[in-house]
């Protein structure tokens, strides 16, 4: 058994675990963090190597089942329309993310009140604004002031990314239709920023890692400062279960490292393992006190899995668009159809996220269209028509919580330490399908208005579970939620959850900005009330 007993033990060193570790460490709280992954240095990224694109289908594949690194755990997604995607490392999925950085809208916190569906959050957009702002400064956000889709935000820390011919082309389409759009907020530096981060050089393919450090990831942003403040970070430390005492408090964490089982005690435990890993850990932590899994007296741990089902609507243009100039996930976005309009036949709405392309291999495999370029006599002709001539409008829908969409424990599958693996069960809801119909039609419209000669639709691609949400939801009623307004488990007073699992509803935007803000709010609460916890 390890003798150290930190005040706080964090499980997971990713987007939220890193932010919380940093925040607590600045207040002099002793923190230890365990992560099953390891450090990934920018020098390990492939984008400056000749065969760089192959990494997208090997060690940088977003699906851990395909990547199959020793630090990964498998996920049974045979009964899920969408595969959960993640990266296991210090920095978590910010290692391979696109750094598109919109916030939840004010309405996203009040969907029950406004639209009569799902549930409200027990806090508001305004409650999170100080933490959004803090996180924007830490992550280093570039953007343009005056975003029409939000109440006025604090000045963006850096100027917006260049749009290039690609972004300017779709902007003309939006303008022609009179639909609002805006340059995306991005956690990508456009000037030198922070600790050695260079300005983006528009090399694209952020999903394969950023060698310049322009794209924020928490291993670069939060962890250096947290470590200097004394946080102890143990890598390749895979947690098996949390052990509780008769007082329902977590007493210890059992984890594997170097092939041995270790026990680590702490006064307070924070779980930050994402919307799949967190319910997996809680459901694997069964005991006499919690026979259905830790903190699961509501029965809601693992339920209400949400993903943001998407459609990629890709237009091909006669003129070259420099489609692979610039960060892949950040061009312009539109929330023109974000809010409920009952005349559309569905509630809530969706985001258009315009994305850029990658290299020639990505194009040959079909890119966002999902359809491989044909082999044979026409191969070169079609390749030339598509490579750097494409423009994708992603339709990212709000995914309403439904209890039949779940993370459970697979009865057979395990990771390399023998820990039972998760199983995802998920189907796309009726409301979402109507939303996708509407979004695909509107995306086609804007692409045609921008001059596309041909449009393809890739609806709900299996490799689309970028955002893992809702499986340990927040609320004030212990019978209808897993954690309280501060992320503290209703059933376990010294256990906090801070990742996407706590989200009550999904919004229709990429979630990292919001879950980091929520995590920093939880950290702030812990700092204020540490004597009572």
């Amino acid at each position: 058994m390890d003798n150290e007993q930190p005040d706080v033990l964090i499980i997971g060193a990713g987007a939220t675990g890193g932010a919380v570790a940093w925040s607590l460490s600045q207040a002099g709280i002793s923190v230890m963090c365990l992560d099953q992954g390891d450090w990934v240095k920018p020098s390990q990224y492939h984008t400056n190597q000749p065969d760089w694109e192959l990494s997208r289908w090997s060690d940088f594949h977003p699906d851990p089942n395909e990547r199959n690194l020793d630090v990964d755990y498998p996920v049974n997604h045979t009964e899920s329309a969408i595969a959960p995607l993640m990266y296991n490392a210090v920095g978590g999925s910010t290692i391979h993310w696109g750094a598109h950085f919109p916030r939840y809208h004010p309405s996203d916190f009040k969907v029950r009140t406004l639209d009569g569906v799902a549930d409200d959050f027990p806090y508001s957009y305004e409650d999170l604004v100080p933490f959004f702002d803090l996180n924007d400064r830490m992550m280093g956000v570039s953007g343009l002031d005056g975003d029409p889709f939000y109440p006025p935000k604090s000045p963006r820390p850096m100027p917006p990314l260049a749009l290039g011919k690609h972004g300017e082309t779709i902007a003309k389409g939006f303008d022609a239709l009179g639909w609002s759009w805006w340059p995306a907020d991005a956690a990508i530096a456009t000037t030198a920023y922070g600790e050695g981060r260079q300005a983006c050089n528009y090399g694209s393919s952020c999903d394969l890692g950023c060698t310049t450090g322009a794209r924020a990831s928490t291993d670069l942003v939060y962890w250096p400062s947290a470590l200097r403040a004394g946080v102890v970070l143990k890598t390749r430390a895979r947690v098996r279960e949390l052990v509780v005492g008769d007082d329902d408090r977590v007493q210890a964490v059992l984890y594997y490292q170097d092939g041995r089982l270790h026990e680590q005690r702490a006064r307070l435990v924070i779980v930050a393992c994402n919307g799949v890993g967190t319910p997996r850990l809680l459901l694997n932590s069964r005991s006499n006190r919690f026979p259905d899994g830790l903190a699961n007296r509501s029965g809601l741990v693992g339920k209400n899995l949400m993903y943001h089902p998407a459609a990629f609507v890709t237009g091909y243009f006669d003129d070259p668009l420099q489609s692979n100039y610039g960060p892949v996930s950040n061009s312009v976005y539109s929330h023109h159809f974000y809010e409920t309009d009952q005349s559309r036949g569905f509630v809530r709405g969706y985001q258009f996220q315009v994305t850029r392309d990658s290299g020639p291999l990505w194009a040959a495999h079909g890119g966002t269209s999902g359809g491989r370029i044909p082999w044979g006599a026409d191969h070169h002709k079609v390749f030339q028509e598509r490579f750097n001539h494409s423009l994708n409008v992603g339709v990212l829908t709000e995914d309403l919580p439904e209890e039949h969409n779940t993370i459970t424990i697979d009865p057979v599958l395990t990771d390399s330490d023998g820990i039972p693996a998760p199983k995802a069960t998920y189907r796309v809801g009726d409301n979402t399908n109507k939303m996708l119909d509407h979004g695909v039609a509107r995306a086609t419209e804007v692409l045609e208005a921008a001059g596309a000669r041909d449009v393809t639709v890739n609806r709900v691609p299996k490799i689309g579970g970028w955002h893992l949400m809702g499986t340990a939801r927040t609320g004030t009623d212990p019978g209808r939620s897993v954690v309280d307004t501060w992320g503290r488990a209703h059933d376990v007073p010294n256990l906090f959850l801070v990742d996407g699992s706590v989200l009550v509803t999904s919004g229709a935007v990429n979630v990292t900005s919001t879950i980091q803000a929520i995590a920093l709010r939880t950290a702030d609460y812990i700092k204020r009330t540490r004597r009572q916890l």
């Binding site: 400056n48 100027p159 528009y202 090399g203 692979n324 610039g326 023109h336 290299g359 020639p360 490579f387």
Partner: protein
């Protein structure tokens, strides 16, 4: 893979690769470019070797049953139709094989050079792009706020 592929199979593989991605102008055919890649990938992975061997066997079987001779001996115009028939009968297998061919072709330095600078590795040079021009948002600013007041 040497021990698995006969000389006839090797010749057949080159033929097939050149039909998947034919030579056109400055762009080489895949037979010249990808053969070594496919061979190395098959030697490094039993699953990849299976894809290559099964594809070649399916092609040979189709050639035997349809034309009564090896694939390499049938007319070029008939070879394409034969591959299309194999693709229709074994879409998953044939798709994996085509993916493998594309992997080798579009990561080959000679091919990348022919495709031009936009096809090259993105780092460390990055891509040249004009800075953001604020004039582009003049119209959309005039549309005003578009968020729901709570």
């Amino acid at each position: 893979m040497d021990k698995f592929l006969t000389d006839i199979q090797k010749a057949g593989l080159v033929d097939v690769l050149d039909l998947i991605i034919p030579r056109l102008g400055e762009m080489p055919g895949a037979g010249q470019i990808v053969f070594e890649y496919v061979e190395a990938a098959a030697c490094g992975s039993a699953a990849t070797a299976r894809v290559v061997l099964d594809t070649l066997m399916a092609i040979d079987a189709a050639a035997g049953s349809g034309y009564g001779k090896p694939f390499t001996e049938i007319a070029d115009t008939e070879k394409v139709a034969l591959l299309e028939a194999v693709e229709e009968q074994r879409p998953s297998l044939f798709g994996e094989f085509v993916d493998l061919v594309y992997d080798g072709y579009y990561t080959d330095a000679f091919v990348i050079e022919r495709l031009g600078p936009d096809a090259g590795k993105p780092q460390p040079e990055g891509r040249p792009i004009a800075l953001f021009d604020p004039q582009i948002v003049v119209s959309v600013r005039q549309l005003g706020p578009r968020y729901r007041t709570v």
